[in-house]
Symmetry: C2
Subunit: 119 residues, 2 copies
């Protein structure tokens, strides 16, 4: 049992849109992801999803508008709500969601990442 | 629906050891707490508990040692494990736990805070 440094974990990978698990809380996973560019519109039918920006600026497009998150800001996308994350420059994000959540939700496609990638 | 700034929320209260809810994810609450000094030994029989240090330095005493968390570091106390948070100087912490979790667990006492304090 030891402290988990977000900065040290972020140094361990470089690919975009591929969340890495850094901690488990009951049946939830805390993940880190580096993002840049546009993700796909998707939704999670069974769960809310929390985004906390560790560094950079993230946009989350929603059906009725866009949430802009800067470092130290968070947003919870309610379950079932379509959303599309975007970032002009590389942005580091902490995600929190149930442990079997797939990054592309029900949509799938080329950007679908493994749901169980620990670092 | 809007971004939640951790810094803005932290500016809204000053008391120690009294977690404030800033977001809900399914049946979990994201809380912020300012701590200084010693808390009580306690445990949560039903749940793990996540501590993420936003600013400062936190010690979490455990039966077999002490975890030291600096800014940007997190630790998950497993359910049922006694723990005692301490901080020499004021420290700001993000907590994540199921929404009915009481800060003093099964122990109670003067430091018990309301489990449903939104800011």
């Amino acid at each position: 049992m030891k402290a988990i440094s977000l900065a040290e974990k972020l140094d361990l990978f470089h690919e975009h849109w591929s969340p890495k698990i850094v901690a488990q809380l009951n049946d939830y996973h805390v993940k880190l992801v580096k993002v840049k560019g546009e993700f796909v519109w998707h939704e999670h039918i069974e769960t809310d999803e929390l985004f906390l920006v560790i560094k950079g600026k993230l946009r989350i497009l929603l059906p009725n508008g866009t949430i802009v998150l800067h470092t130290g800001e968070l947003f919870v996308v309610p379950k079932g709500v379509p959303h599309k994350p975007e970032a002009d420059e590389e942005c580091h994000v902490l995600l929190l969601e149930p442990k079997d959540t797939v990054n592309t939700g029900e949509v799938g496609g080329a950007l679908t990442a493994p749901a169980d990638s620990w670092i």
